[in-house]
Symmetry: C2
Subunit: 391 residues, 2 copies
């Protein structure tokens, strides 16, 4: 099962915990390395929420003399005299002794005199200093991802630089004598390396960097040399070479280099021949050679591990509740990855989930995935299920 394999991997993960300072405009989707506390009240002074007239509610229903206009950004401090009002713009500082704003649209003005009736409530459109955020209050926590809303909150506090966690250095390989690169020319008996491009794209889309290091030929020495050459990376991801075929040298090479197995398979279809090895602080993932399996395990297992290494707080995928549409049986001795299309609250499979794990087009058709539990033998029409959005 994916969850228990992930937990086993997480137990073996060393979080990097290294951080660096970045300016706010380079901080999007980075992971906070420190808790962030408010440095100032938000708003920082009492101000008007609307364009209108500032007055004191004691004088509601009485004629008020309009004595001037206060603009946003005006640094002077104004004070209301009795029976007076100020025109005031959104965001402008409230004059002393005022407690209410009537918006232009609801104000009655004749000859520079303002009349406000009781349909306006006391404190209308009056924004109090600190009503949203108080200085010293915790705003964001270490491990949170800096999405645009959080960037906005930091900017509103005048916080222009933040410490974020550095992300792991990742090397990506592919393996197999039958594999050639998309920029080469495949003969009739060769197949293009689709896995590495997909792995790179999955990582990049999730804001992880990686370097592609090439195809490892099916030989013990080549495998050993390739893994050794990437010893300065935190994580190595390769695909192929993990099943029980004669020409799989990955496990042997890793053992030779002192790596220990963290997981040597996952009870899931597709994706069973997935291995994860560890040496000191380094992890090696050997993903299945079959494209669909490599893609899904990279998404479901490698990505959460990279987040964990980066000390990201939220490691779970966003989940959506859906109604299953159709009927499907699956083997209950394992977990099954069911690709589907989520639309209008319903999740429908692609070809009743019958296709080879070497295929790619079902991934293109799908926009979400259901992961069955071990012991679960199928789904019936209208079952409530929890799905994970894909691309």
């Amino acid at each position: 099962m994916i969850q228990s394999s992930l937990e086993l991997i997480f137990q073996n993960v060393n979080e990097l915990k290294k951080s660096k300072k970045v300016s706010l405009n380079g901080a999007i989707n980075q992971i906070l390395a420190r808790d962030i506390f408010a440095v100032k009240n938000l708003p920082s002074f009492d101000n008007s929420a609307l364009d209108g007239y500032a007055f004191n509610y004691d004088f509601v229903n009485k004629p008020l003399k309009i004595v001037g206009t206060i603009f946003a950004g005006d640094k002077s401090v104004y004070e209301l005299s009795q029976n007076c009002a100020y025109r005031i713009m959104t965001g402008a500082m409230m004059p002393k002794a005022s407690d209410t704003v009537v918006e232009f649209e609801k104000a009655v003005v004749e000859n520079d005199m303002l009349f406000v009736d009781k349909s306006i409530k006391k404190h209308n459109a009056y924004r109090y200093a600190g009503e949203e955020v108080k200085a010293g209050e915790m705003l964001l926590r270490k491990g949170e991802v800096l999405t645009p809303d959080k960037i906005m909150l930091l900017a509103s506090q005048g916080i222009d630089e933040v410490k974020v966690f550095t992300k792991p250095k990742v090397a990506v390989f592919s393996s197999g004598d039958e594999i050639v690169e998309p920029w080469q020319k495949a003969s009739q008996s060769e197949i293009y390396n689709a896995n590495s491009s997909a792995i790179e794209a999955i990582l990049k889309d999730a804001k992880f960097e990686c370097e592609y290091k090439g195809i490892i030929k099916d030989s013990f020495t080549d495998t050993l040399n390739a893994i050794s050459s990437a010893s300065n990376y935190d994580v190595i991801i390769t695909s192929g070479g993990a099943s029980k075929g004669d020409a799989d040298f990955m496990a042997e090479a890793l053992k030779e280099l002192g790596y220990k197995a963290v997981i040597d398979s996952i009870n899931v279809r597709p994706g069973k021949p997935t291995k994860c090895y560890k040496l000191d602080e380094k992890l090696v993932f050997i993903l299945p050679g079959n494209p669909m399996a490599a893609f899904l395990i990279c998404f479901l297992v490698v990505l959460p591990t990279l987040k964990k290494i980066s000390s990201q707080k939220e490691l779970n995928f966003t989940k959506i509740m859906a109604k299953f549409s159709g009927n499907i049986k699956f083997k209950d001795g394992r977990s099954n990855l069911v690709l589907g299309i989520y639309k209008d609250g319903k999740f429908s499979t692609i070809n009743n989930n019958k296709f080879g794990s070497g295929m790619i087009t079902p991934l293109v058709k799908a926009n979400s995935i259901y992961i069955s539990k071990v012991g679960e033998s199928g789904l019936s029409d209208n079952d409530d299920i929890e799905i994970i959005p894909l691309y």
Copy 2:
């Protein structure tokens, strides 16, 4: 209403339609500028889906002599003689005259003789050339976004370069005398420019580039000069200066420069004082000064417009069905943006959606948004609603 405003803007949009070649590893999240057709069958040759033995089903239940091993990538063409079988690895080319593979786990082998019983079905684990994709077939359409699954499909075809649409050049301003930059020091009466950082982050997260051009002071001349200085951009986004206050010079300056209004407000709360102007192929968005309104209108209106300018096919947001939790009333003469938290299939509001449009923290708490229709006066517990995920 947002939808009708968007339609009006879309009618006034000139798609750029300019394209450039990018290599596959730089193509993630770019927009395809050409339909893509398969250049080769997938798989390109008959091959084994598993590690096992290739044989001819006519000889099921008979002892078969294992005459050799075929590895993936082996360029030789093998042929089965009668009463013979080959060991075969995943992805290896099927020998001629074979039609079925029995996986190692289900094979009975004694003294180099293979026995297969009828529990194995004919054509088991036999992948036929072209069974997934046939050469010439359309794979992807112009206007599709290159997500990781599509990158994988292109790589599997040996397509290493694609034409993608260039995206619009976007300039971002802020406006207002009361605004100072997060990297400056605000006095008691000034407020930090949160809008520009958020707009930049929203665009960047959605893979649009933009350049920040600074704060426009509240003066007609400054506004005129700022807009003129950005005449080489396809889209200008500014915030503030769009309401009816005395110190709003944006509309005047745009008129002076020959811009025509496309929309001069949106019947939505928050976000009403949103304007969009057009001159030749250029668009200017004037977003509200209030942070929450600026954020949501940038997300809900500006982003789809940028996609449209880039000829992206899918302009609608992903929508999720949810059960409303709680009870809420809102004014039915307009559309209302209701921030909320989606969890376990339920959508709950933040403080019953009561907070000022100058606030930012509700955006940080929310992970999704409900947009009410004009004429809709509220939601009751357990109502089925469609929501849009935020960050």
